[in-house]
């Protein structure tokens, strides 16, 4: 199954006002060669667009924290848990 299809099974309450992960795409483009986020994010939220730039949408985030740990060039300028009650809510876990 595709990641997007799997994510649609989960319950999410997206915080439209405050993204909990923010990237500086300039850093991702110029400084980061390896772009580990592309393969380690279980939700496959990091993708490359036609120009080779990272695209990212925090809406399907599973809040695992993997991207934060692998991001060596600090392209991720903010990684926090979503504000209380927002984000994923597992029914089973």
């Amino acid at each position: 199954m595709e990641a997007a299809e799997l994510l649609s099974l989960n319950r999410f309450e997206v915080d439209e006002e405050e993204p909990h992960i923010v990237l500086d795409k300039e850093i991702c483009r110029t400084k980061c060669k390896s772009k580990p986020c592309l393969v380690v994010c279980p939700a496959v939220l990091y993708k490359l667009d036609k120009n080779g730039d990272i695209t990212f949408d925090y809406a399907g985030c599973l809040e695992c924290g993997t991207c934060r740990v692998v991001c060596k060039e600090k392209g991720i300028t903010k990684w926090e848990y979503p504000r209380g009650t927002f984000g994923v809510s597992y029914r089973h876990g």
Binding site: R11, G84, R91
Partner: protein, 259 residues
């Protein structure tokens, strides 16, 4: 000014509903409870109105035993105390029964200047309870309210209709049923949550209320409750070049009456 009473309903979260694709049977057993979405806006609207008028907000609900969690949640959103008509019949009550219960409880609570309800519940969306309460208490009802203001003993409201806005006034006490756009429903913070857990809750049993014979019998019965699935026509237009395909698509859409 006397109390603003806000009525809210504890419903099953709709995104937890599970619909069997072949039988369309709906499984509610895995659904968690939540305060009906519009009622959260209603609670905030009541809080704002009573704060402006220097009175107190009181929350009221009719629900079965598992509504207990709801009371804490509601109280963390501002009301100073809550009243709970606790009866298992709430689980399949219709608008008639619910309004009878709430109106009886409101009489018991006594003084009130304004009763706020959500425009419709997240589960049934029947628009009945607010108007029926107004009728039972013999006070004015203003529905589809997107703005309101109290000045002395008078209520000024803006109703949102299909494609127009209507300004309405009424003397208090009155019932309003509010739309979610009346105000956002903020998420309670830490202190609010802690206070919510400490505020007083008064529980009524049906016997405690002054009800007449027949007040507790439903006027409508739900005969079946099924999921609905959209069936697609599955028309594939893949012949010819782009222009031909677009022409075929437009023709097909016209034929279906979409265009």
């Amino acid at each position: 000014m006397s109390n603003v009473i806000v009525c809210f309903k504890w419903v099953k979260a709709e995104d937890d509903l599970r619909i069997d694709s072949s039988t369309l049977a709906v499984d509610l057993s895995k659904s968690k409870g939540k305060i009906s979405d519009y009622d959260r806006n209603a609670i905030e609207a009541a809080r704002i109105a009573s704060e402006a008028a220097g009175s107190e907000t009181v929350a009221l609900t009719f629900g079965s035993a598992d509504t207990k969690t709801a009371l804490k949640d509601a109280l963390s959103r501002g009301p100073k105390q809550a009243f709970w008509v606790n009866d298992v019949s709430a689980e399949n009550a219709d608008g008639f029964v619910t309004a009878n219960m709430l109106a009886a409880a409101i009489r018991k609570i006594g003084s009130y200047s304004l009763i706020v309800c959500g425009e419709g519940a997240a589960d049934t969306y029947a628009h009945q309870v607010g108007p029926r309460i107004g009728a039972l208490l013999d006070i004015p009802v203003i529905s589809f309210v997107k703005e309101m203001r109290i000045d002395g003993n008078r209520l000024y409201a803006v109703r949102k209709l299909e494609d127009s806005l209507e300004q309405v006034e009424a003397d208090l006490p009155a019932v309003v049923t509010v739309l979610p756009e009346i105000n956002p429903a903020p998420i309670p913070g830490l202190k609010a949550v802690l206070e919510g857990g400490k505020k007083p809750v008064t529980e009524f049993k049906i016997q405690d209320l002054d009800l007449e014979d027949g007040d507790t019998s439903r006027k409508t019965d739900v005969v079946s409750f099924k999921g609905c699935s959209m069936s697609r026509k599955k028309i594939l237009i893949n012949e010819g070049d782009a222009k031909e395909r677009v022409t075929a698509l437009v023709a097909a859409l016209k034929k279906e009456g979409v265009l």
